[in-house]
């Protein structure tokens, strides 16, 4: 198959039409003249069709799940069901203000309540809040809860350390540090937490250990029960990063593994679209110790009525405006309802089957670190390519030319020239075979072609070094910068 992405020579919006004359904006009666905009907003005046064409053309220069397989590791890029889009756009979902009286939003509160109950069962943790807007936001909120918990126990002065494995997502240490903790990495052994290292690292300074299971090497941390015991014996709490929950749905859950608190990414496991970078939804689930600290309001059922409960004296309060990304909660509810018990379990089975099947096949082309049995994702190392002067980056770019997206690259850092591949359950065997063939074509191509890739996309290889060294971050910068287009 020969792939060609659209290659429009589409100007920037402001090069399509002029901005209006820069006279003052209209005066508003009662508003002091000093407050009035002296120059009308500088932005092009366009007709609707010009705007529509511009963004339609731009959209044609973008990969999405609907255009191609998207095997980014730890991102769980599964099909986003169309029925979810349909329902989330209903007036009864989209046209609701969060400050409407409770009596007028009973359905929204009930949907929230029902989704929370489902997620509580999926995580094995009794209390759930849908307030966080994204995974990292959920991590951060959970760490604020950890903080409040130790403050109430009079241990906060001492318990200042968050432990995490060296395979942790970057958001983990960043969230911990925003929440006022210091972080310490536990080295891995064969891709998993080195239990002995953890045992010697925990102490009465440990606030919590943050763990993704399966981890970012795609391995299930089989020592999890010992890990939990180690952390708890030291008086610390165990935090579950739910980015990789897809692999274990219905087989195990954070509650059974001994976690005290978890965040889930509805935009991964529950198939809500990622919007080209967001929105997400970063559900919090908490065990008994931390549940009283969840953000307010909580949705409660009294008789047949649903209401927002603000009477949680130990709550950390608010972490965003309103109650969460409700539009995504509707989609996640549709997903959970459609699959049900058996369906969710099958999601995990098929995701893990896909991952192992593709790993075995791609493992013929590149070495796979660590053990063979993986969960939802697997790692490859691009080191053998170096003999040919080729890097993982070149392979990733060459894959784009095949019309498929590249895996996550250069993460986790413990594997040199890493590729992290995740093909969720919604990809068929045919698609996996197709991806494998594309991968083999790419890797067997000449060094010259790999270096020159991509050739079939809207642009050739992008100069990221120049972008960082001479930042042009807006139209305003373009106006003051020298001409950006040069001939090489």
């Amino acid at each position: 198959m020969t792939f060609r992405q659209a290659r429009w020579d589409e100007p920037d919006l402001w090069d399509l039409a002029p901005a209006p004359d820069p006279g003052p904006a209209p005066a508003i009666p009662g508003v002091p003249e000093r407050f009035r905009r002296k120059e009308t907003l500088r932005w092009p005046e366009l007709s609707e069709i010009e705007v529509v064409r511009h963004y339609t053309r731009l959209s044609q220069m973008n990969f999405g799940i609907d255009t191609s397989a998207y095997p980014l590791g730890s991102c769980t890029m599964k099909y986003n069901p169309k029925v979810s889009e349909l329902l989330a756009r209903r007036a009864g979902a989209a046209s609701l203000h969060p400050y409407q009286p409770e009596a007028t939003v009973q359905g929204a509160l009930e949907l929230t309540w029902r989704l929370e109950r489902i997620l509580s069962k999926v995580t094995g943790l009794p209390e759930v809040s849908l307030q966080p807007a994204a995974g990292a936001h959920g991590e951060y909120a959970a760490l604020l809860m950890v903080r409040a918990y130790f403050r109430d126990r009079g241990e906060l002065d001492r318990r200042t350390e968050v432990l995490l494995p060296d395979t942790a997502h970057g958001t983990n240490p960043a969230s911990a540090s925003m929440a006022g903790f210091t972080t310490r990495e536990i080295p891995s052994k064969d891709g998993c937490v080195n239990l002995a290292e953890l045992q010697s690292a925990v102490s009465d300074r440990t606030a919590c250990f943050m763990l993704t299971n399966p981890n970012t090497a795609g391995l299930f941390e089989s020592d999890i029960l010992d890990i939990a015991e180690t952390v708890h014996a030291a008086g610390g709490l165990l935090y579950y990063d739910g980015a990789n929950l897809n692999a274990i749905l219905g087989h195990t859950h954070p509650g059974r593994m001994g976690f005290d608190v978890a965040h889930l990414n509805l935009h991964k496991t529950f198939a809500t679209p990622h919007g080209g970078g967001g929105p997400g939804a970063g559900v919090l689930a908490a065990g008994e110790k931390l549940a009283p600290y969840l953000p307010v309001p909580r949705v409660v059922k009294t008789g047949r009525r649903f209401r927002l409960d603000y009477d949680r004296p130990m709550s950390i309060g608010k972490i965003k405006t309103a109650y969460g990304n409700f539009g995504l909660d509707v989609r996640a509810y549709v997903y959970a309802l459609s699959h049900g018990e058996e369906g969710l379990k099958h999601v995990a089975r098929r995701a893990v089957l896909n991952s192992n099947y593709l790993a075995a096949r791609l493992g013929r082309s590149l070495p796979r670190p660590f053990r063979a049995l993986v969960k939802h994702e697997f790692l490859l190392s691009g080191t053998p390519l170096k003999e040919r002067g080729v890097r993982t980056l070149d392979l990733a770019k060459r894959l784009l030319d095949e019309g498929v997206h590249a895996p996550t690259i250069y993460f986790p850092a413990l594997v040199e020239e890493a590729l992290m591949v995740e093909m969720p359950e919604t990809e068929s065997k045919r698609e996996l075979d197709h991806y494998a063939e594309a991968f083999e074509r790419a890797i067997n191509d000449t060094a010259e072609n790999l270096h020159a890739a991509p050739r079939s996309l809207a642009v050739r290889r992008v100069d990221e070094v120049r972008a960082a060294r001479e930042p042009i971050l807006s139209w305003k910068d373009q106006r003051s910068a020298p001409a950006k287009v040069e001939t090489p």
Binding site: I28, F63, L96, T104, L111, H137, R349, A452
Partner: protein
């Protein structure tokens, strides 16, 4: 089982065979027995028509804003969205994409975000914007941490009139590094910031940032904000601005703001019961490497053709880990797309005309409510655009709003912190003119308020 997973006969068997294993369960042998679970207890799956019926049953129990004369506002707006905006936002090349890690495959979203950043720069008069944060409140939290990175101190000043949710979010963001959020009192007549309080706090040398909102939490414009920077010196000024107001108001960069944040949902996104929203953030060039969130830059490709990419990434969590400027990974890119498509469809003059028209409706409403017994509208003697605060001198906000609701009017929202134990506040309601109301709805509001007054302020 939904059709979202391939179930071609023989497919799974062939895959298992190639792996040399007999059953799917063998793939889970690495989960210790003691960690396994039985049934979840969430019921069986359902076919698509059944799911649609069930979810519609729930959604039909809601009464959408379109069924009411709606005067609800605050940071979240009920505003008409041109069909063209939804058409673009619904393009699945955009909405089913991930964060644009591979720029060559993602020029559509990257260029859109570059245009979005450019628009927020033009609206605010600052130098650079990021590619979005979660919402206006968390943008405030990020702004607080940003200020601490560029200035020493422990105290962050915010108006006491700031919506309680935002004060709570800010306190959370401040708690990690042990910083303090302090409320600046307001003049009881105008709602304006007590500038003398600010002056004294600054003189004490421990303030690392000051936040002011335009319009403020009461919906009013505080002229003192225009002079605030001159009293702050090098202490950073954060202005939280309503994007639509910036079509007619001076860009905050022109009166010294170092950071401008805002809530962008009102540009092209539905209120959706409060989310997804859109956090806006802009700052000055010299602080570009301290800014939180994704940033898109313009550069060239191998052939010298213009291209965009995520840039200045050494600030971010995936590189800098515990020393990152922020933990932001997922943001609100699709809402940023809606924002720039909305503004471009309506156009710069159209935005100003919309703001003028909302302001006119608000004035009409204020005069229709003026002189009604038991309420003061507007409560504060200060200029306003499309929103203002009313205060009840007897009765309760709950009773007032409930009476209006029974007449199919959503009359605004109570400003008080609803948490038990929160300090007792006056019975105040923020009222917003929306583009869905006209003269008829305004008179209906006034009639309902009069009936409430005639009943002695009883629901």
């Amino acid at each position: 089982m939904p059709r979202w997973i391939s179930n071609e006969p023989g497919e799974e068997a062939a895959m298992l065979e190639s792996l040399g294993i007999a059953s799917l369960d063998e793939l889970f042998r690495d989960i210790p027995k003691k960690a396994r679970i039985g049934r979840l207890g969430i019921g069986g799956g359902r076919e698509e028509p059944d799911v649609v019926r069930e979810v519609d049953r729930l959604l039909d129990r809601n009464r959408p804003l379109t069924k009411f004369a709606t005067f609800l506002g605050g940071r979240i707006s009920h505003r008409y969205i041109p069909a063209a905006v939804d058409a673009i936002v619904s393009r699945s090349e955009f909405y089913t994409a991930y964060t644009p890690y591979q720029p060559e495959a993602s020029q559509g979203m990257l260029r859109t975000l570059f245009e979005f950043q450019s628009l927020w720069v033009e609206l605010t008069g600052l130098d650079l914007a990021n590619a979005s944060l979660y919402d206006g409140a968390t943008a405030g939290g990020e702004a607080l941490l940003f200020c601490r990175r560029i200035h020493e101190g422990h105290r962050f000043l915010v108006p006491a009139s700031l919506p309680w949710e935002e004060r709570s979010v800010l306190s959370n963001y401040a708690s990690g590094p042990g910083l303090r959020v302090e409320e600046v009192p307001y003049d009881p007549r105008t709602g304006n910031l007590d500038l003398e309080f600010v002056r004294k706090a600054i003189a004490a040398k421990d303030v690392f940032g000051v936040l002011a909102d335009v319009p403020n939490g009461f919906g009013h414009l505080d002229e003192g904000v225009l002079d605030l920077k001159s009293m702050l010196g090098d202490v950073p000024l954060v202005v939280s601005a309503d994007p639509l107001s910036l079509s007619v108001l001076e860009p905050p960069g022109a009166y010294g703001a170092d950071v401008v944040i805002g809530e962008g949902q009102g540009f092209g996104a539905s209120p959706s019961f409060g989310g997804p929203l859109l956090g806006l953030f802009a700052c000055r060039r010299e602080h570009s490497r301290q800014a939180p969130g994704r940033i898109v830059g313009s550069t060239v490709d191998l052939e010298g053709r213009p291209a965009c990419t995520l840039t200045l990434q050494t600030r971010e969590q995936h590189i800098r880990r515990s020393r990152a400027m922020s933990n932001i990974c997922t943001n609100e890119s699709l809402m940023a797309l809606a924002f720039v498509v909305y503004a471009s469809t309506v156009g710069p003059r159209g935005l100003a005309a919309l703001q003028s028209s909302l302001a006119e409706k608000a004035r009409t409403l204020a005069s229709a409510l003026g002189g009604i017994d038991g309420l003061q509208a507007p409560r504060f003697d200060a200029p306003y655009l499309g929103e203002f605060t009313i205060e009840l001198t007897h009765g309760t906000t709950a009773g007032f709003l409930d009476r209006l609701r029974r007449r199919r009017i959503l009359g605004g929202h109570a400003l008080a912190d609803p948490r038990p134990g929160a300090p007792k506040e006056a019975e105040r309601i923020l009222v917003a003119a929306t583009d869905a109301v006209g003269e008829k709805e305004i008179q209906k509001y006034a009639a309902a308020a009069k009936a409430w007054a005639a009943a002695g302020g009883r629901a």
